[in-house]
């Protein structure tokens, strides 16, 4: 039997001990597939897999699954993001099978931003399962070959299963126990929230490592380059669970406006280089929000290019 649980390139890269690199693309707010294809092609050769967000910030967009298929057909390996906000267990299991039918090999299980942030603030949310229960569900479908209802699945899905972790959300003391819980549910890789507070992140990694968790899961550090000091302030003050130290804001504010984007890239590269040395780091998840064209530069400057053959 194969040592691999899926046909995922990401799984092979991580299991071979290479630092993995993923990025993300947000599907368009319309039905034109060209936009997501274009974004995918910009980063294709610089990453191992591309996350496709699922109606992020609760704004209605093209479905993550459909966008994943567009990428897959271009030879780009997608990571299907699925939130529990909008679908019950019937729809979630159904979409998992749909993804598997296209041989999509990675999935990231999330609860999703509350719908009050999006364009359907008056809508219902579902939350039949939470993100950990979704991890359990997909592992059950894959490993036991069964639906939650107990029936057998013909050709069970073969998915490499991920979950998110926010090392900075409150309360800090349960951030590592929460990671342990996600691993206990069956998470095989973790992509973290954007990291700006390097010291706090290292502390989280140290505690995770002390508990042996970094031996059990591949932790990919989430990186988002700042485009401007305005973005940094927005992230600090408006985005839930985000920890942006003042020194980042001061550093961006200290350069001319037209050079701030480049400074943001430089900070991101420095952070990746610093974190590469942290024990237990398995790779990087580079979320350049609506700035995909910068991913190749970040990957190259961080010494993560070319991507390994596996």
């Amino acid at each position: 039997m194969s040592e691999y649980v899926s046909d995922s390139r990401l799984e092979r890269v991580l299991k071979a001990g290479h630092l993995g690199v993923t990025s993300e693309c947000g599907p368009p707010r319309g039905s034109d597939p060209e936009e997501i294809k274009k974004k995918g092609m910009l980063i294709k050769d610089y990453v191992d897999a591309v996350n496709v967000t699922d109606n992020q910030t609760a704004m209605t967009r093209m479905s993550s699954l459909a966008a994943c298929v567009h990428l897959k057909l271009l030879g780009i390996e997608p990571v299907l993001q699925m939130v529990t906000r909008d679908r019950n267990r019937v729809a979630l299991q159904s979409d998992i099978l749909g993804a598997a039918s296209f041989d999509i090999s990675n999935m990231l299980c999330l609860s999703g931003d509350h719908q009050s942030f999006g364009d359907c603030a008056q809508g219902q949310n579902v939350h039949d399962l939470d993100s950990m229960q979704l991890v359990q569900t997909v592992r059950y479908m894959r490993d036991e070959g069964k639906f939650l209802g107990g029936d057998d699945i013909k050709r069970p899905p073969r998915l490499f299963v991920g979950a998110a972790a926010n090392p900075f959300a409150d309360p800090f003391e349960i951030r590592v126990p929460r990671l342990a819980k996600k691993i206990a549910c069956g998470a095989e890789f973790i992509q973290t929230q954007c990291i700006y507070n390097i010291d706090k992140f290292k502390e989280w990694m140290r505690r995770a490592s002390d508990r042996g968790l970094t031996e059990k899961v591949f932790i990919m550090a989430g990186m988002t380059p700042m485009k401007s000091v305005g973005m940094a302030k927005y992230m600090k003050n408006k985005v839930p669970g985000m920890d942006v130290p003042d020194e980042i804001i001061q550093r961006l504010a200290g350069v001319e406006k037209k050079h701030q984007a480049q400074e943001g890239i430089q900070i991101c590269v420095e952070h990746i280089q610093e974190l590469k040395e942290v024990p237990g780091i398995a790779g990087f998840h580079i979320m350049a929000i609506e700035w995909e064209e910068k991913v190749p530069e970040i990957v190259e400057k961080s010494g993560l290019y070319p991507r390994p053959e596996v």
Binding site: F117, D170, A180, G241
Partner: protein
């Protein structure tokens, strides 16, 4: 208890515009305690309606009555002998009382005078907050006595989600993160190890998902 709040007066006036003989019917239970539909609120609403119609030179009968409960046959029967004197009833009971009255008096329109909000507690003077969503399968033994179903905006059973900041929920700085409260309480109980027990996929068939719910008790049936 059941928490309700008064409907906007304009909405009530619109609903009763067509009727000439109106009974404003209060309830002495939950809606009295949460000051939305008891005797006092019946008096106020009836006065406002009278003044409104008087200002329009319209003659209407607006009577007042408050029952012990509107969710009980026994008390609702008390208006049987007068119900035919009215074209409509504005019930200030919760949605249960409004429906129970409507079911009992099939030919009389029964209109809601309050919005039923939640099952909650009187946290402070003038402040009522949700505590239970009647999911039909209580998890409080596993969550330090704090309910994630009713108090987490995503009813996350293995929380907190990534949006918890300074003990507050991502939807509002005024909303406590239920999982922060759960963790604080588990800590106070010396039971933080329980945090790592995974809550399994929940059976929601006892929740509204399973359709209208009934409780049958053979031992108390007559």
């Amino acid at each position: 208890m059941i928490i309700a709040e008064k409907k906007p007066i304009e909405e009530i006036i619109r609903e009763v515009e067509a009727y000439d003989r109106i009974l404003v019917l209060g309830c002495n239970e939950c809606v009295t305690v949460c000051e939305a539909g008891g005797k006092k609120e019946v008096e106020v609403l009836a006065s406002v309606l009278r003044m409104n119609f008087m200002a329009q030179d319209r003659e209407k009968t607006i009577d007042e009555r408050t029952l012990e409960r509107q969710c009980d046959h026994e008390y609702l029967e008390e208006i049987r002998d007068v119900i035919d004197q009215y074209d409509a009833v504005i019930s200030l009971a919760c949605g249960v009382g409004v429906q129970f009255a409507a079911e009992k008096y099939m030919t009389t329109p029964v209109l809601p005078g309050v919005n039923t909000v939640c099952l909650g507690a009187n946290e402070d003077r003038g402040l009522w907050t949700e505590r239970c969503q009647a999911c039909g399968s209580c998890v409080l033994a596993r969550t330090g006595g704090i309910c994630p179903v009713s108090r987490c905006a995503k009813r996350v059973l293995n929380g907190p989600c990534g949006g918890s900041t300074n003990g507050k929920c991502e939807i509002s700085k005024d909303t406590d993160c239920a999982w922060q409260l759960i963790i604080d309480r588990l800590k106070a109980l010396g039971k933080m190890d329980d945090y790592e027990i995974v809550a399994p996929v929940k059976d929601w068939s006892t929740d509204r998902a399973g359709g209208p719910r009934t409780v049958t008790r053979e031992d108390v049936k007559i």
